[in-house]
């Protein structure tokens, strides 16, 4: 079974802090994604990556950056956290060339910025 692991289930941070959200997948997937889920807005794509050291902006990249130094790990970075970044963050991965049915999600990190 594919496993996508997000390092924290709940995280509480202060405004202005630098925040790292970590995601690790164990199936050698090329594609990795970061989404945020907000009530009434669904899932929105922040950033994605097709390969090591490669990144592409999603629909809402402002205020975020990402890092992919190793194939299995994709980090989401909030350079200076703000209250409007309070959200559920979901990481996902998939094998290059497979269909979107094979997109696997982690359990999510609920981030609260105070």
């Amino acid at each position: 079974d594919v496993k996508v692991t997000q390092s924290s289930r709940y995280l509480v941070k202060r405004t202005g802090e630098k925040v790292f959200l970590e995601c690790v997948q164990d199936m050698d997937h090329e594609n990795m994604f970061w989404y945020r889920q907000d009530p009434g807005l669904g899932l929105r794509l922040i950033y994605f990556s097709y390969d090591v050291k490669m990144k592409e902006k999603g629909d809402i990249p402002e205020g975020y950056s990402v890092s992919r130094e190793k194939k299995e790990r994709f980090s989401l970075i909030l350079e200076s956290a703000s209250t409007n970044q309070t959200s559920m963050y979901l990481c996902a991965s998939s094998l290059l060339g497979t269909t979107n049915e094979k997109l696997f999600f982690g359990s999510g990190t609920q981030l609260s910025v105070l």
Binding site: N31, G42, L43, A92, S94, T99, N100, F105, G108
Partner: protein, 114 residues
Amino acid sequence: DQQVKQNSPSLSVQEGRISILNCDYTNSMFDYFLWYKKYPAEGPTFLISISSIKDKNEDGRFTVFLNKSAKHLSLHIVPSQPGDSAVYFCAASAYETSGSRLTFGEGTQLTVNP
């Protein structure tokens, strides 16, 4: 600009009856549609999909209908079971292959009452 819309935030049905979840889209480039299911404290999991060349796809109790001219799709669950209680997300992409970006709807909370 919400390109995929699920207008019902919630739906409540009795066990054994039919659940119908609706989804509308505006982008004519969307060619592939998926439904994901999400339980609390878990990531979304793939449920069923349909290509734009079809108007119906069935998998056990789940059937997805696509009306391209109306830009509308629906998910039917028959018969509904209490274990189906979850948030259902409609998603669309321009291509079938993974890595083609998914656009999600807002989600519909389905509650199936025993």
